[in-house]
């Protein structure tokens, strides 16, 4: 492989990561507010189909992306209604929605299958795009990829540095305390769940209008990506920057799988394609294993220096969710 090909491949990783970035950032925002939006896998499919269908019908890319955001927001609205107002189990509502949205995407998308559609054009950034290596790597992409760079720090600043962001952390951490400080917890949870849903809703159209342009029904290869986004949100410890790193790592590994395949004839292609999944399990294992009883029991027997080392290591990897994640809020 030439250096040029590697460079283009790595640049491609940034593009293929873009939809997942939106999905993960949207989910992070929703979960920071205390609501798990488990529908994400269905949302990605439904918005991919919806965005494609709308852009084909209107001839406009913009409306395609708007449609994606609207659909994502509507699905999230059902999650919010079910969990915030009706106080039903968020996992149940989200899981059912994941299935319903997937089937709806296939059902409604049937007539659009295989149609020729619009595709997001590449947009080289002048000057920056001409810098050798860096230009090719970062600045020869389409608009949504650039936006995916921007949404990561934007979400981080919003959550950790702005006044409303502090409140967002508050309603996910201890809603009663946020309520005492004047927050309308329910309204804000609605707001952030729907906002997160709208951001997640961008990921589908990015697939169907750019990364995997077109709608091919069940063989679109999109089923499952939403579940991965959920896992990466956990891996990211509810921090947009750490989550984005997870996404890039995932996209990089998938690319690596493709690249390595010809040079490893003994390994069937299916094995390399699923390599990220065991890896996802492994990372979740590393993030969580420090919380298990048997590990603390085992560590207790080790000599002190070794024990301290492992404790520090496990603590550094551990991620703890917003304390009120998944639980409804009752003001008295």
């Amino acid at each position: 492989m030439t250096n040029e090909a590697i460079l283009l491949g790595l640049a491609g990783v940034l593009t293929t990561a873009a939809p997942l970035i939106f999905a993960v950032v949207g989910e992070t925002i929703s979960e920071r507010g205390g609501v798990i939006n488990l529908s994400i896998n269905g949302t990605v499919l439904l918005t991919a189909m919806g965005g494609f269908a709308v852009s084909v019908s209107t001839g406009s890319l913009l409306w395609g992306f708007v449609a994606g955001m609207v659909i994502g927001a509507l699905v999230a609205l059902i999650v919010a209604f079910g969990s915030v107002t009706l106080k039903q189990n968020q996992v149940a509502i989200g899981f059912v929605l994941a299935l319903v949205c997937r089937d709806l995407a296939y059902f409604i998308g049937n007539p659009y299958m295989g149609l020729e559609g619009l595709r997001l054009p590449s947009l080289d950034i002048p000057l920056l795009g001409d810098i050798p290596i860096i230009g090719t790597l970062f600045f020869n992409h389409d608009l949504m990829t650039y936006l995916s760079y921007l949404i990561i720090p934007a979400a981080w600043v919003w959550i950790f540095r702005t006044r409303p962001g502090l409140v967002l952390q508050g309603i996910g951490e201890k809603p009663a305390a946020a309520f005492v400080r004047g927050s309308n917890v329910r309204r804000l949870r609605y707001l952030y769940t729907v906002l997160g849903g709208a951001i997640i809703g961008l990921s589908g159209p990015i697939y169907s209008l750019s990364v995997k342009a077109g709608w091919k029904g069940t063989i679109s290869g999109l089923d499952g990506l939403g579940w991965i986004a959920l896992a990466i949100t956990i891996f990211g410890g509810w921090n947009p920057i750490r989550a984005a790193l997870g996404v890039y790592l995932f996209a990089f590994l998938q690319w690596l799988g493709l690249v390595l395949q010809p040079s490893l004839p003994g390994v069937p292609s299916q094995v390399l394609q699923v390599a990220p999944f065991p890896l996802m399990i492994m990372t979740l294992l590393l993030v969580n294993i420090g919380n298990t009883e048997w590990v603390t029991r085992t560590l207790a027997v080790l000599p002190a220096p070794l024990r301290r080392f492992f404790n520090r290591l496990l603590r550094a990897m551990r991620a703890s969710p917003p304390a009120a994640l998944g639980t409804p809020f009752e003001s008295e």
């Binding site: 996992v91 059912v96 299935l99 709806l104 499952g224 399990i281 979740l284 969580n288 298990t292």
Partner: protein
Amino acid sequence: MMKKRWLNLGFQLSALVLALGFTTLILLATKTDPWQAYKYIIIGSISSLRKFTDVLVSFVPLLLVSSGLLVTFSAGLWNIGVEGQITLGAIATTWVLRLLQDSSLAPGLIIALAMLAGMLGGALWASLAGALKTYGGVNEIFGGLGLNFVATALTLWLIFGPWKRPGIGSMSGTEPFPNTLWLPMISGFRLSLWGLGLGVFFIILIYFLMKGTYFGLRIKAVGKNLKAAYLLGVPTTRYLMLAFILGGALAGLTGAIQVTAVYHRLIPSISSGYGFLGLLVAMLVNFQAIWVAPIALFFAALNIGSIQLPIVLKLDSTLSGVLQGVLVLFVLLMDGVRQMITRRSGGAS
């Protein structure tokens, strides 16, 4: 008490009406005549004995997997890895059938061994998710999902690799097994009474297990409050693992049925989505084993009824999935509405 029961029923019926209403809207939006669609679903499922037996063919795996999921649900587990457990059951069954098909053993024995292997395979895959949860702290939703993908990849690899058909492997699956290794069927129909018998046997078994035994009570205790169950003396890790293993064994048996009674070979999507559908059934029955069979039968009827939609109406057959999912969604939502109303009225008195 009586009044409360009628009220519940009222809410569930209204959920059904809302689900139908929503699906009708979707059909109208896609410029389809809803009555035509519903008519063909009904015709497609119960208009003839043959079609009804086809419904039962779909009912058996759904019943089996839902019975298993009832156990994991009671233990408070979201066993989303159930799809992979079905797949591994199918793989293990295929493996044993391939291994023994040229042996001199009686075909009945081979089938029995293969199905047992299927149960073991499913149980093994489930215990992986279980071990990840109990010993690794990995939420069973994510562990299970990851293992689902791995199971699918394993199937594809086997079909295109070691178990490929003579010549070239294809998406149509492995070489079909000879008739002798099929689960005996009613002649002229695709239904196997053995399969149906197994399904009925296991749902009854699970019913009594969950209702009357120490095992069932402990599983429920673990599901409702793990910490308290442990303090009261329930070995919680063991019971979580047992729930996974039992649920996985039934999922594995589902895969075995798919191989021995339905497809007679291993195909790429051998689970046919029964795992996720079973999760919907288990959610809908809300821990009551008695309702599993009727709901599973209804869902199976929708599945079979929608098969001919692409031919007669140019509609995608996922309409049944939409209807099933939307029904569960509205039942969950209406249940929330009911609870909200009772809370309100309870607070006022």
